[in-house]
Amino acid sequence: MVFNNWRIRRVGQAVFTVWAVLTLSFALVRLMPGNPMGAMLVQLEQSGMNPARARELVEARLSVRPDQPIPIAYMNYLTSTLQGDLGQSIASGEPVANEIAQALPWTLFVMSWSLCITFVLGVVIGALMAYWEGGRLDVGLTSWAILMGSIPFYVLAFLLLIFLSYRFGWFPTGGKYVAGTEPGFNLPFISGVMYHAILPVLSMLVASGVASLGMRGNSIRVLGSDYLRVARLRGLSDLTISSQYVARNAMLPMYTTLLINIGEMFGGSVVLEQVFQYKGLGYYLYRAVNIRDYPRMMGGFMVITIAVVIALFIADMTYSMIDPRAGGASNESY
């Protein structure tokens, strides 16, 4: 019962977050001093357009009508956004939703690979360090993990780009796929896509350093607990103990790390894709902010946020399957 309640609450929370993000972006567009709507109006009127035409254009582009009272404009904004209308880009005049739909899969592709590999690397390295705690391997790997944790991912990205792409020419210096291949389900295209994604994915692996330190701490704590001794006395095999007892219990707290990583990686995609000129959603958002293309900027921000909300929701749901204790905390009021 608690389990079901918790799931329903979690769905409610996700919906609430999406609503909060939409409201926030409406407030930013319409209400804040120096808001995009006002800025756009001024921009257009200064370029010699008559005010009525400028208002029409702003309405078309931002899906916010300047002359409507705020509550009505807010309702219209919510409904049009929920219907997938994110306005039109100032620079290209294209619907923002279409542009984003083309950019998003690339970012999801790179991010999901980075997340998976980071998580697996963190768990494996952390477990190795814990198993040989205090040994030479532990000291070496710990130093490595600290170094990884100290390097911002974009610094690693630059180093990889400078040396592997520009110096040695092993990898492409930018782009998403080999020019001239036909996008679709064919081998040259897919291998080209993989090839171009290697360096961005590698750069994001710095997060595995901190993750492995967390895993190391958890495993050491589990290794010292009484139920492990009991398991050994029962004569369970080492493999069963290490996989069923140690790994499972040590990995549970890692989920929090994973959740935080999701947000940070999606946020980081802005810088990452700029460095590699990898034209996904992050690059799109970066360009939009740089040229102050407000519809693109708000649309990109909303989509990237909603992507994180969905990713976190999926992660939370699977977590509750692994750990039956999830969500049962006391909420008694003091």
Partner: protein, 347 residues
């Protein structure tokens, strides 16, 4: 009332002052056996809060390195800006390699600006951002997490919902959008706080879940039974046991502020007048320094500056963990050493 209790109250009533265990004093009249002067108290405090932590920090190699690195940056930000002259375009020849001449120890960029001077003069602004951002996110995170976890009920529901919204919003894009709309000034404190506008939420959630177990402890329960007001319980009973965790998070928050600030300057989203690590990166990128072998150091110098302070902060954070560990502490405190030896002899 049992029979025995009854008898005791009877004897008490009969001979007035003498209690049943043979003693003459009630607990309320007991006087402390040990006298403690103000000087003693001062020394205890000094020992607990200054000497022991320093001694622990000094005993750990990671801490020594971390401490030295952070101190280096602090010196660069304070003394360094006075000692080392700010650089200007065409100060020296373009693209001198590092360690070539002692005039430009880290080389120059393509406009002949001294890179070492650039690094030193960016430090102060960065340190201001770090301080403001880290303090802001840790204070807010602790406050929200502790109150939500302790109070429970609808206050918890409201605060947790807000926290969850901020956890779900990726911080970097939010900051980008805010910077683009608000046209930030150059006040480093404001930038630091803006960079932390979403990052307090992770700490708030972690603190809340720890407070949820803490609130059932007996010392918290007794404080509540005594009728202490909530703000006293939260500040005197709930937060102190969590201090180690909070302090370690301070170093993490500081690291994140540096990473994000440098990234925003690199992307050219934050306005700037003076050079700093991120701006240097941006200029190097725009000059295609990554494609030119002779300009490589232009990239490496700011990257090393960012990575260096980050290594320092990580090492410091890891060793602070030990400072707050009671077992490690006891070994370093002189005033608690008596109990330690006592324990050793009895076992």
């Amino acid at each position: 009332m049992t029979d025995r209790d009854h008898k005791e109250t009877l004897t008490d009533a009969l001979d007035g002052t003498i209690s049943t265990d043979g003693g003459t004093a009630t607990p309320f009249e007991t006087v402390s056996q040990v006298e403690e002067s103000r000087a003693d108290r001062f020394w205890t405090a000094y020992d607990t809060y200054v000497r022991a932590p320093l001694s622990i920090v000094w005993g750990d190699w990671r801490a020594r390195i971390g401490f030295a690195i952070v101190l280096c940056y602090l010196l660069m930000g304070t003394v360094g800006t006075v000692v080392i002259e700010p650089t200007a375009p065409a100060e020296g020849p373009a693209l001198i390699q590092p360690f070539e001449t002692m005039d430009y120890p880290l080389g120059t960029d393509d406009m002949g600006r001294d890179l070492f001077s650039q690094v030193v003069h960016s430090t102060q602004e960065m340190l201001k951002m770090i301080t403001a951002g880290a303090l802001f996110s840790v204070t807010l995170g602790t406050l929200v997490g502790a109150v939500a976890g302790y109070k429970g009920g609808w206050i918890d529901t409201v605060l947790s919902s807000i926290t969850d919204v901020f956890i779900n919003i990726p911080g970097f894009p939010l900051v980008m959008v805010l910077v683009a709309i608000f046209e930030m000034g150059e006040n480093p404190y404001m930038i630091g706080i803006l960079l932390s506008v979403a990052s307090w939420s992770g700490l708030a959630r972690a603190i809340r879940s720890q407070v949820l177990t803490l609130r059932q402890e007996s010392f918290v329960e007794s404080a509540r039974t005594m009728g202490l007001p909530t703000h006293v319980i939260v500040s005197k009973e709930i937060v102190p046991p969590l201090l180690p965790y909070i302090v370690i998070n301070l170093t993490n928050a500081a690291r994140r502020v540096i990473f994000e600030a440098a990234a925003l300057y690199y992307l050219g989203i934050l306005p700037f007048e003076k050079l700093n690590w991120g701006v240097t990166l941006q200029l190097a990128y725009e000059a295609e320094a990554h494609a030119r072998p002779q300009a490589l150091h232009w990239f490496l110098v700011p990257m090393a500056a960012i990575t260096g302070i980050s290594i320092g902060l990580i090492l410091l954070g890891q060793s602070l963990d030990r400072v707050f560990n009671p077992r490690v502490r006891a070994r370093h405190e002189k005033t608690t050493a008596d109990e330690d030896t006592l324990e050793a002899t009895t076992h």
